[in-house]
């Protein structure tokens, strides 16, 4: 089955690169993948959307992803500006870059209606600032996405990052991806324990 990811962010946050890296990670796992931007005016700070489709067979469809199986939201301020949840599958994954929880973001109701194991927030910008030195959360979010969805291995994310960037920048981003992967893995374990208990 085709798996469709929509990534929301702002110009300058590496949204298009995130979709590209995700497609490369999937490609490295022998899968077909298609990544493309929404082709809006990509000004710094303006809302930007990018898409990634992953499938076991060649992907012919060229329409924008309107019914995503997963959302990666790189900037929580978009929640008030863009209908980021439009078309999200009922069991779709949501990963938001924020230091806050779904409740604190005012998304408690949305979160309650969905399985906790499909939702997570991760402070990816803070991780990027600390490990990469720039507020570019995309690599960390891909690490988090690997942990949340299990659709892609963290090793493939690393490989995609190393293929894209020069060694020094790549290693910093790999470190951010690992940290986010661990963070989301821990959060998910805690959530499932809370659910079981």
């Amino acid at each position: 089955m085709m798996f469709q990811v929509r990534i929301h962010g702002r110009g300058g946050q590496g949204v298009v690169t995130a979709a590209e890296l995700l497609s490369v990670a999937a490609f490295r796992e022998g899968r077909h993948a298609q990544a493309f931007p929404s082709f809006g005016s990509e000004r710094t700070g303006a809302p930007v959307v990018a898409f990634c489709r992953i499938d076991d067979k060649p992907i012919r469809l060229r329409e924008p992803v309107m019914a995503p199986d997963a959302l990666i939201i790189q900037d929580p301020t978009l929640l008030h500006q863009v209908d980021v949840f439009a078309g999200l599958a009922p069991d779709g994954y949501i990963l938001i870059n924020t230091t806050r929880s779904f409740d604190e973001l005012g998304l408690g109701e949305l979160a309650a209606g969905r399985g906790a194991d499909h939702l997570c927030t991760v402070p990816a910008t803070e991780m990027a600032m600390r490990l990469v030195g720039r507020p570019v959360p995309n690599a960390a979010l891909l690490g988090g996405f690997a942990a949340l969805s299990g659709r892609i291995s963290i090793d493939s994310v690393h490989a995609a990052i190393r293929e894209k960037f020069p060694a020094k920048i790549a290693e910093a981003n790999v470190a951010a991806a690992i940290e986010a992967w661990q963070y989301v893995t821990d959060e998910q374990r805690e959530a499932s324990r809370a659910q079981a208990g």
Binding site: A19, F27, F36, S38, R60, L61, R62, P64, V82
Partner: protein, 417 residues
Amino acid sequence: MLKQVEGSAAVAEAVALCRPEVICAYPISPQTHIVEALGRMVAAGTLTPCEFINVESEFAAMSVAIGASAAGARAYTATASQGLLFMAEAVYNAAGLGLPIVMTVANRAIGAPINIWNDHTDALSQRDCGWIQLFAEDNQEALDLHIQAFRLAEELSIPVMVCMDGFILTHAYERVDVPTQQQVDAYLPRYEPRQVLDPADPVSIGAMVGPDAFMEVRYLAHAKQRRTLELIPAWADEFRRVFGRDSGGLTHSYQIEDAETVVVALGSVLGTIKDTVDEMRARGVKIGVLGITCFRPWPTAAVRAALSGAARVVVLEKSLAVGLGGIISNNVAASWTGSSDLVHTVVAGLGGRAITKQSLHRVFGEAVAGSLEPLTFLDLDVDVVERVLAREREQRRSGPIAETILRELGVAATKIV
């Protein structure tokens, strides 16, 4: 070698494997990534010998390509949209002189209103210029068509335009199989010009031709293009033998055997159409697809044969002959033995409007039910059109149309698609 790369990067690799000797570059979206990538290869010394010339305009880009080609060099450039229009005079000259230049057109709308997004208006505006025009369905075909284009151009001494959908293909990352240098060298021989500016054997190229000979020059250009229709399938066959995959040729048929309704289209939208057709087939609808790969020369016989069993034809095109309707559909109707009333034109995707499966289901369903109008504009916002027309009736100074519509729609930046 399989790679997951941007369409522009795939095309740049293909062009580099063809060993171009002169590349003329002038930036315009969505073509720019292609020549940027080639520029990096020349600067790094991985593409050599090759002269990468940053020119001052698109007009200069084609003019320099003409000069380079006339001097015997394998010449390449790329453009889009207004850039193609700006070089139009030189585009006609390249064809009229019979110079085998290869150019990528990263298809984009033409203003005004200014719009950087994809449709086919730019390439189709040059449909009568004498270039061969090939349209790629995906990035693999875009890559492959460039290799075929140099072969075609040089064998025939005709320039070739490889058209690929701007952004939708140029900026999409997908899997491509990049051939080896040995494969490309085996398919594409060294360039042996039919005419060359050589100081050791001087000729003049570009003579003025009066009424006594002009028609003959034009006739020969036409006859050569028509002859190309016989050669292109053979070269696509040879391409399959060397590279192991189907790419290029005149047309691609899909699910057409027993199809009562056949959808005709060009370029990347064929993928979305095929997915839609598969879903309709699963419900028992006899519908198929005819993709036009070679738009100029127009493959009359291939189109006629492919449509011979159809009861009706839907031509979905990203272009508009203002004041007439479809451009592609006009060509299709002229090639079909059936009634032209049963050739429906669906103008879609102008200026980058997304073409969705949902909308295709609706319009193809109407065609099958016999309720589709002769000319339809897919997903046209009829309400906003009516409001603008009402305003024009009410007010003499109704204002600029594009700005009025934007005001009517509100801020579009928050929309996802």
